[in-house]
Symmetry: C2
Subunit: 209 residues, 2 copies
């Protein structure tokens, strides 16, 4: 397998999709797949798959094809999924509740606590995760030292909370807030989710003649 | 401006981000921006911006820069945002509730009704959208003829409902379900949201040495 440092983000961006389809095959009890068969399921060309897997250093055998379990294991290592990372959830509204209810078992994360400013939510739990008062976040972070924060708050609330977290050492963000973290904090590790951008792309597809 | 048919999806994929940043500038009361200033805000190069805008046929004036309101209008037309499209929401759970509470005013969509199979939700409303019994969806679609469906249901429930909707003429989907619609229905217009893929990319960024 290649060293991670040799792979760029533009390479890696396709790996989760492979992981998702291979997980589906694994659940169906399949453990052997040719690049042609995988290509058909995924709607890509088999040469693209061979090229990607070669670039990722993933192993297949001539005439045998790929082992699904081995691919899953190797891609899991590339993506760091086996290293459980601790997360805190900021914002327990609609997006935050949806995020709290996702499945994290196979994705390398564990949400340790949620935070909100809404007094009616504080003390309650979502999916077994306790909602704490946002005013206690500094104290919590100093003690628990979470590795990342899932930001499910409006854009205008984000700069202040990101500054506090960043200064306390939390520099990794799954960001639903639309606040552009990287512009201010260039060394932060950020994955942005812009649902509105996705919706505008659908609008384009629908309006295109 | 270029004809839409000349633009590929790989071109268009960057337009929503421009739209988002320009909307922010507009809210701040700015109506004139140079490619250099926009580049700095967006964290890209000004030559990338000039190249993109030229490709999209967006207009700027030598020495003046770009008019924010004109760019917003032109990008809005390219993305079809002014054509209000009717949508139905399938699934009123956590993701569905989050989706129902997004802002659609400036994104060219309007959710007309929501559907769920959970009897305890039917008859209630989210964000003013009435939740109807999923068993009545065929009747509803025949009468209301919605243009697209927002699929906020688990993967295993999706194939059956997509088949029903597709056969009734609903062929556009904002798809949170992970079910791979395009493999089965090649002419469907689909924008997939895979939150898990995004999270795995964050895992990669965090685990990379």
């Amino acid at each position: 397998m290649k060293d991670k440092s040799e792979l760029s983000y533009s390479n890696i961006v396709r790996l989760p999709r492979y992981y998702r389809f291979l997980s589906m095959l694994s659940k169906q009890g399949k453990d052997k797949i040719s690049s042609a068969a995988l290509a058909e399921i995924m709607g890509v060309t088999s040469s693209q798959i061979r090229q990607d897997f070669s670039c990722f250093g993933l192993s297949g055998q001539q005439g045998y094809g790929y082992s699904v379990s081995q691919l899953l294991s190797e891609i899991g290592i590339l993506l760091g999924l086996s290293e459980k990372k601790s997360a805190i959830l900021i914002g327990a509204g609609n997006i935050g509740t949806a995020v709290a209810n996702l499945s994290y078992d196979d994705k390398g994360f564990e949400i340790k606590a949620a935070f909100d400013k809404d007094k009616s939510l504080i003390g309650k739990s979502i999916n077994g995760i306790r909602i704490l008062d946002i005013s206690s976040i500094g104290e919590y972070v100093k003690n628990a030292i979470p590795e990342c924060a899932f930001l499910c708050i409006p854009e205008d609330s984000a700069p202040e909370i990101v500054r506090e977290l960043y200064e306390l050492g939390v520099k990794c963000f799954w960001n639903f807030s639309h606040y552009d973290i990287k512009t201010e904090y260039t060394d932060a590790k950020v994955e942005n989710v812009h649902l509105g951008d996705s919706l505008m792309r659908l609008s384009y597809l629908m309006s295109k003649q």
